[in-house]
Amino acid sequence: MRGIDLESFTIQGLSELVRKREISPVEIIRATLRRIEQYDGELKAFITVLPDEASKDAEEAEASIVKGGYIGPLHGIPIGLKDIIYTKGIRTTCGSKILADFFPREDATVVTRLQRAGAIIVGKLNCHEFAFGATSVNSHYGTPKNPWNPRCIPGGSSGGSAVGVAASLCLGALGTDTGGSIRIPSSLCGIVGLKPTYGRVSTYGVYPLSWSLDHVGPMTKTVKDAAILLQSLAGHDLRDANSSSHPVPDYLSIREDVRGLRAGVPSDFYFENCDPEVRGSVMKALEALKDAGVLIQEVFIPHLKHATTAGLVILLAEAASKHEVYLKGSQSEAYGKDVKRLLKTGTFVTATQYIKAQRVRSVIREEFLKAFEVVDVLITPGLPVVAPEMVEDSVTISGKRETVRSALTRLMRPYNLTGIPAIVMPCGFSQSGLPAALQIAGRPFEESTILALAQAYEKHTPWHEKRPSIEVPEGSA
C-alpha cells in the first residue's frame, strides 16, 4: 500500500485527490494514526486519540465517496479538536484533572457541523487547563512541545491544536480564543489561526472560559484551509444566545486582487516593545503587501492601551463566576497552581469594576469601528516575540523585562474585547529558526477581506511551505 506523506499536504490539496478518488479516506486516516503514533509520544499534542472511531468514520466516508456521495473539501479529512469542545460519549477533559472523567452527552455545534461536512475527528487536543493560560504548560497531561524547537512552548491555550497541525498529526484543528488562545499558539508554531467575529461561530458545547470573550475558530497550514473550515463552521445557532444571524458569505471564493485595499497600521501600540527580528519580518510583510497594491497608512486608536486591563478584568470576573462551584468545593485542590490563582484573583473583582471594564470596552470598540471608516484592515505583529523556552517565565524585549503571559497576550486581547475578526500567519523566521507572525484584523463579519489579504501575502511568500523537522529521541516512538 502506498504511504501518504501528510507533511506535504494541505486540506485543499488532499481534498482534491479525495474528490478525484485518487486517495481514499481510509488511507488518509491510517497515515494520520501512524504519524500520531510515531510523533505524539514526544510532542504531546493529543490528550485522547480516537483510532477506532476515526477508522470507522473513514470507512463510511470511503463507501459514500465510492457511491458518488462526495460532499465537499472536508470529506475524509482528519481534524483534531481542542479538548474543551464537547464530543458525545468521548472524554472531554478541558486539560484538567477535575474533568478527567467527563463524557459529554452531546456534541458541540461545531463538531456536528464538521461531521456534517464529512470531516473525520481523529482526537482531542491538549491545551492549557480550562483554556486559562497562554503557554499550554499542563501539569496534568504533559506540556505539548513546539515542533520547531522542543525546548520552547507552543503557546496557548490551544497549544495541542497548533502542534498537531504544525507537525501534520492532523490537517486542521479547532481552537478557542478568549485572549489570543488560537492566535498565540498559531503564531508560535508557524501556522494560520483565525479568530472569527464574535458570534460568527457557535460556542454551544464548548466549555466557557469567559462568555463575552470566547470565540471558536480554525487552525490550519494555509489561509485557504482556514476558509474551508470556517465555511463549515459559520452560521447562526439557536442554542447559542450570542450567535449571530448575519448571513454567511462564500469564504471559498477568496478575492484574488487586493490592489486598492486600505490597510491601517496602529504602530504606537503594536510595535512598541517588539523584538527587532519580529518587527523586521512584519515590516518586510508590509512592504510585500505594498508591492501587491495595498495602500498602507498609520492609524491611531486613542484608548487602545486600556484594552489589556479591560479585557483582563472581564476575563477574570467571568472565569471566576464560571468556576465558582469548583473553587468553593474540595475540587479546588485539583486545579493546577497557576490556574487556581488566576481564578481566585477573579473572585476579588467587584461588580462596578466589571461594569467599568465593559464600558471601556464600548469606547474601544467604537474607536476601532471609527478606524475602519478609513481603512479596510489593520495589520500588526501577531506577537512581539518568537516562542520562549519552557523554563522562562519572563522575556526581555529590547532591554525591557516582561512576563511571558503579558508578552503573549497584550497584542491579542484588543480583538477579543472588540469581537472583530483577526487572523495570524507566519511572516518569517528568527535566526534561531522560530516562526514570527503577522496579524490582520478586519471589520465585524468581514472575514472574507482578511482572508483575501492573508492569501495575497501567502501567495508571494514561502513561509507556509516550511515544515519543522521533528526529532524523536530513540525508543520513544
Partner: protein, 70 residues
C-alpha cells in the same frame, strides 16, 4: 496590617471569608496580594477615560451577537 499597592491582607481575607466564600490558602496570600494590587492599580488607570455617557458593552440584540454588540 501589611498593605501591598493599596490592598491589605485583612481586607482580602474578609472578602474571601464572608463574601465570596472562596478560600485562599495561607501559601497563596503573598501572590494574591500582588496580583490583586496590580489589578487595582491598572483599573484605576481606566479612570483616564471619560465614561459619563457610555453604557456597558452589551447591546441585547438577540441572535445578533449580544455581548460584542454586533
Amino acid at each position: 496590617m501589611k498593605k501591598e499597592k493599596g490592598i491589605g491582607k485583612e481586607t482580602l481575607r474578609g472578602i474571601s471569608d464572608e463574601l465570596t466564600e472562596v478560600k485562599v490558602d495561607e501559601g497563596e496570600w503573598e501572590e494574591m496580594l500582588i496580583r490583586v494590587g496590580d489589578l487595582l492599580e491598572n483599573i484605576r488607570v481606566l479612570d483616564e477615560i471619560d465614561l459619563r455617557e457610555v453604557p456597558p458593552g452589551f447591546s441585547y440584540n438577540p441572535g445578533g451577537g449580544q455581548n460584542a454588540g454586533y
